[in-house]
Amino acid sequence: MDQFTLNLLFVGASFALYIGIAIWARAGSTSEFYAAGRGVHPVTNGMATAADWMSAASFISMAGLIAFTGYDNSSFLMGWTGGYVLLALLLAPYLRKFGKFTVSEFIGDRFYSKTARMVAVICLLVASITYVIGQMQGVGIAFGRFLEIDAFWGLLIGACVVFAYAVFGGMKGVTYTQVAQYCVLITAYTIPAVFISLQLTGNPIPALGLFGDHQGSGEPLLAKLNQIVTDLGFAEYTAAHGSTINMVLFTLSLMIGTAGLPHVIMRFFTVPKVSDARWSAGWSLVFIALLYLTAPAVGAMARLNISELMWPNGTDAPAVSVEQIETDPEYAWMATWQKTGLLGWEDKNGDGMIQYYNDANPDLQAKAEANGWAGNELTNFNRDILVLANPEIASLPGWVIGLVAAGGLAAALSTAAGLLLAISSAVSHDLLKGQLTPNMSEKSELMAARISMAAAIVVAVLLGLNPPGFAAQTVALAFGLAAASIFPALMMGIFSTRINNVGAVAGMLAGLVVTLVYIFLHKGWFFIPDTNMFTDADPLLGPIKSTSFGAIGAAVNFAVAYVVSGMTKETPQHIKDLVESVRIPRGAGAAVEGH
């Protein structure tokens, strides 16, 4: 069986499973559509949240970013897990006690203001839609690569599948589908990592292998890696190179953004009890940590494998020959990926060998001149291909490659579906039922939810075809917005009775606007190319890149809300009572419809 058929088989079988579950668990009532009738066990909910949270960025992109940068990209690991501590301690149990369906409903009720609810809906929609565009981009590329079709058709097929189970299944369908997706994606991520860890360190657990000894040399794996990358003129893998302030703010932005993303928060409305909401956050992180503890090992081991493949006899011996790359089956992956345009090499000095080194490093000039090197000849290595190409790089069997294909798609699709659910509930529940047509029947509300989901998919596909920028830019905007607008409003709503309607609205708007402006200043106004006034290489505020600004936006939100609340009318007594009741678990019933 050839690789194409194998990929098709794995992807096809996993999809049949997801769609089957969606049909089996079809939602009947509004409350089932949004929150699965609150019958979801904390462990099940945790697994679904993990699938929901870990997107194409975690599965496909993160290990590659770590592999080529090393320590400096640890921010992704700490940021995307540390947010769960904030969620579990500061938000989840209270929002569950509050007992409504959506995040903006809480903000609207707590700040007794329809304006506050509207502002929250806007923040939520912008953050979710930009995030879903990034996912659809990933879906298109992954489908295109593994089904060997154009990315355009990959995107359309992906959109149809997401539509099918998100629209017809609702939350309950999505919850169980996401459990299945979690199982697929974690298996797909772990199996190749275990193989590679065994090859390199003899330890079957990749997370331990990372700090273990390299089998070939007997040295610690990381010491070996440091030595080989510095020999080639690259920055030491385990050392810090970037700005400390920027790293702190970037990590903090990712953490706060995690706790402010509506599709993740919504998950905690679906557990039966307040105490379950606390456990549920822990279980989510258990399932996320299984991937996040493996990811740095995947990155480091892949970097070592690639370096050794390019220098099969060590960095002092001649490099790999062009002939070997073209004929040796161990190097077959290079030709495969070259076709995608994401990997490239060029024998610049015509010596029949491909020298891979850092030609920008002045320390290597003498060595390069002495050996007749004419610059780095591994001219292109896109970071996003690393995880997908990893099993091929390590010469693992074909079924592992098929499995990784199915896993990458599971990660992208599950997140897209969760985001679409958040978008549809914001439109049908908060915008239509909450504001425009309060007397809507349950049936027409469900219909509106489905129509808005379909509309959101159409928008995401259109923007996914002509994205406003790279996926990383879109994701940065989504995180920055969630961190600067939603999280502070929720936290202050629970922990302070002093913050009033005017303060909350002013805070959210200030956080949102200041973050948007900072991002647009660096990435271009509304992401139109060449309209930026600064670059992330030389940011407006010292070392603070636009991706790190969400934390500052959140601080602005807090400060403005406090000052404005101090100058305006005090919170009425019934709202203070509401806050008091949210803080106490007793009396948490099933969620009730908003009015």
Partner: protein
Amino acid sequence: MVDHSVDTSETATKDAGYWSTNIRIIGICLAIWAIVSFGFGIILRPLLSGISVGGADLGFWFAQQGSILVFLALIFFYAWRMNRLDKQYGVDEE
């Protein structure tokens, strides 16, 4: 009416005790959360460079794995501690 107001104020005092204990637990947990990630993982890393962990230093380990494990422990500790506190103050859901 008078009796009720006494009840309410007693409940209020009890609830205030519950809430201030909760705030204290959250404060301690978040302090640990910040120390392992922003502290050991980033800012204090140079101070820990003497302690080596499998080819790297302790700060590197905290940044790539250690903080995640501590985050897990914190969330489960908080859930366990709060469920106990709920019962202690009689505000649990049973």
